[in-house]
Amino acid sequence: MMLDARGYSCPEPVIMLKKAMESPETEYEMMVDNRASLENVTRFAKHNGYEVEAKQKGDDYALRIFRK
């Protein structure tokens, strides 16, 4: 599932991911555009048992959130 949280500030990106995690999906691609969202989304995902890979793309961050 692709989640584009660019343009949103905290806690919206975390809330987007929280809602998405109510679905049966086990892997999410997410875009955020600030460090606070990067850190918060990473914390939320890890707290819920997911792994996170993050890459910087220009001013944005691309996250892959998945179960091991």
């Binding site: 500030s9 905290c10 806690p11 975390v14 809330i15 929280k18 600030n34 460090r35 606070a36 969202s37 850190e39 918060n40 989304v41 990473t42 914390r43 939320f44 995902a45 707290h47």
Partner: protein, 318 residues
């Protein structure tokens, strides 16, 4: 920000823009100085009356943090066309309610149209020039007191994800709406040297200003710092306001935090507070008595640390 802009010098302006203090102070005569401040912000709660109360308590706090007595205020307000008359009135009613409680006269104000509503007060108060409490006048050997628990910013962020229960929210609301006047009225009877209120820069940001301004090191004892335990969990789950990360970036080079401190607690120390408590630097010999007296009249007053000569870092969290 103001570099290159011509400003006038006046020796009566004893606290101005340059010392990052809570309010400006202008000496009128040997016994009286004028304290001036303004603060306003967008709604942080849905209830307009409560928003008005919190915004007013927050604006008045800057005068109390200088050891002053708030006396006159003016409404500063932004409204949009979607807001009903009753909502605008409820916000003002909240502001007037706190002003009344504080013994402050609201003498007028100004309202403009803006997409995002905002409310606050411009406040005028008075202080005896020799009883003025700067954020930069803590003394070696002082003890530090904090008068409201931390974690409000994190919990209000988590509340937007529906993760905070009603009872805790009510506690947070009443803490944010609580005037720092009670604490101020009590502390000025003691040998207090320095004071600031803990707001947007978080405990560590405001403590750093006190440490640097005083040329000393502030030691904070983490087991004595009052905070909402729920905020620790919420921070670790990712509900940290962007301001806390900014505060960390701004502060961390001059701070040592004891190894093994929980991540959530570190976030709480950087958490921006809305209408937070007073951070008071007071003589060690009277600190326990001041703390005990404060605890009789407000729900939180904890001794959280002490002040030493300047060490390698300005702040040490033990």
């Amino acid at each position: 920000m103001l570099e290159g802009i011509p400003t006038r010098y006046d020796e009566r302006l004893i606290v101005g823009y340059d010392t990052s203090d809570d309010a400006s102070v202008y000496v009128l005569n040997e016994e009286l100085a004028l304290v001036q401040t303004v603060d306003f912000f967008p709604p942080i709660v849905d209830d307009p009356f409560l928003f008005g109360q919190i915004a007013a308590a927050n604006a008045l706090s800057d005068v109390y943090a200088m050891g002053g007595e708030a006396k006159l205020a003016m409404n500063v307000m932004c409204i949009n066309s979607q807001m009903g008359q009753e909502v605008v009135r409820a916000i003002l009613q909240g502001g007037y309610d706190k002003a009344y409680e504080a013994g402050v006269l609201i003498t007028g104000g100004h309202t403009i149209e803006d997409k995002e509503p905002k409310y606050g007060l411009s406040v005028t108060g008075f202080v005896h020039p020799r009883k003025l409490l700067r954020n930069s006048s803590a003394k070696e050997g002082d003890v530090l007191l904090l008068t409201k628990p931390l974690g409000v910013g994190i919990l209000m962020t988590a509340a937007r994800g529906d993760l905070v229960d009603e009872a805790l929210l009510r506690t947070l609301y009443s803490e944010m709406a609580q005037l720092n006047k009670t604490a101020r009225d009590m502390m000025v009877r003691y040998d207090v040297h320095g004071c600031t209120d803990v707001t947007g820069f978080g405990l560590l940001g405001h403590a750093l200003e006190m440490a640097r301004g005083s040329g000393l090191t502030l030691h904070l004892e983490s087991e004595h710092i009052p905070y909402h335990a729920e905020a620790c969990d919420m921070a670790e789950m990712g509900f940290v306001p962007a301001g806390a990360y900014r505060n960390r970036a701004y502060t961390q080079d001059d701070v040592v935090i004891r190894e093994g401190t929980r991540q959530g607690l570190m976030d709480i120390l950087y958490d921006p507070q809305t209408s937070g408590g007073l951070l008071i630097a007071v003589s060690e010999d009277v600190a326990p008595q001041l703390a005990a007296e404060l605890q009789q009249v407000i729900s939180c007053a904890e001794i959280i640390g002490y002040v030493t000569r300047r060490e390698e870092k300005a702040l040490i969290v033990e």
